[in-house]
């Protein structure tokens, strides 16, 4: 009896805690649940911010059918790390729109965060960040991809990223002429 009562109380307090808890639960396409700080989620993701504001967050796990568990884990990991890092005033400044906002170099932890990802995980994360409207994470991941492309000739980039060259020889020559300043060594 005593035990049951205790359980009931625990249940009660759990419910109360859930009502105004400061995390949200997200569910990946394959049904795994992840918890993330509500504040960080709202600050870093325009989509999650909209869902939180609109009350469409499900306490049993908000379905994110487009995002696999590995990518979602990385998203949540990023949000938590971001919440723990010293908030950079520039990152949370909302007065500057995307079009004009200057890009801030990835911070040391952000660099490490994307460097450890496999290629597939990196691209999964880009897609997840895009889906969730996470501008900063999108910048950091796109920056990483740009570094993978830097210093390579078009031929090398095509090879690495398996891009099919659908130009004719003449068209390619035309482009090289047009962009002579970029191909100036030819």
């Amino acid at each position: 009896m005593e035990v049951d009562k205790g359980k009931g109380e625990a249940e009660e307090t759990r419910k109360v805690a859930e009502a105004d808890r400061d995390t949200v639960t997200l569910k990946s396409s394959d049904g795994k649940l992840f918890e993330v700080s509500k504040e960080a989620a709202a600050r870093l993701s325009t989509v999650l911010a909209g869902m939180i504001a609109g009350g469409s967050i499900d306490d049993n796990g908000t379905d994110l059918k487009q995002i696999g568990s590995e990518a979602l884990e990385n998203v949540v990991d990023y949000c938590n790390k971001h919440a723990n890092s010293i908030p950079s005033a520039a990152l949370i400044s909302s007065s500057i729109s995307f079009n004009t906002a200057p890009f801030k170099e990835p911070e040391e932890w952000e660099r490490k965060f994307v460097d450890r990802l496999s290629h597939d995980a990196l691209f999964d994360l880009v897609e997840a960040a895009n889906f969730l409207g996470m501008e900063r994470l999108l910048d950091v991941t796109c920056h990483k991809i740009s570094e993978m492309m830097k210093g390579k000739s078009p031929d090398q980039i095509r090879e690495v990223f398996n891009i099919k060259n659908d130009y004719t020889k003449e068209e390619l020559e035309e482009i090289r002429q047009e962009l002579a300043w970029a191909f100036y060594d030819d």
Partner: protein
Amino acid sequence: MRKPESQPRHEIYPKIATRPTAASQPPSTSPAMAKRLSNLPDKILQRILLFMPSREAATTAALSRRWRGLWPTPARTVILETRSYGRDCTRDAERGARRARIREEPHPKQLVRKKTLTSRHSQSTLDMVFRPEEPSTLLFQTLEQLELDVEYNPTGEASVSALAMLLHCCPVVRDIWLKLSKDLASRIDTRSSIDQVARADFDKSCATLGQDACM
């Protein structure tokens, strides 16, 4: 039967100043990552190009039909609207100018709003209006020297951003003179060489531009 010595092709690539750290990783040719890049929407590809040196980003037009027209990226790049004074000097100044001078109107709010560009090479004058919010682009493809006679505040985000965007449109600029107001001049070198300013263009990073001065 020895072939005559020829100029190496693509010599430019190793020369471009990229940060040595992450960029120097060996390329992975794992087929697992095949097509992942091509599957991304245009908007994302443009965001990737934004972080590349202008010259290298421009060469991606040669990758495939889809990549043609992705660069210059419409977002976050500087937009220059030009209006020519006198005879057909607009194209000249855009395409042929090697040196440019930008002067600021009195009491501006930020680095760029409306300025006069004088191309010493072609003796033409342009009004330049920088409108980052509008999606169209213009390049100063041959501009090698840029003189900015403006109130540049190295700690101001708008100034740093505007300068970075201006550099984005000057892919081959080598020398930049910045003339600063007195109180700001003490906080940054008044003349910067390719090592500093042009690298900021390559990195597309406002932080790189501003950090030395931001104490």
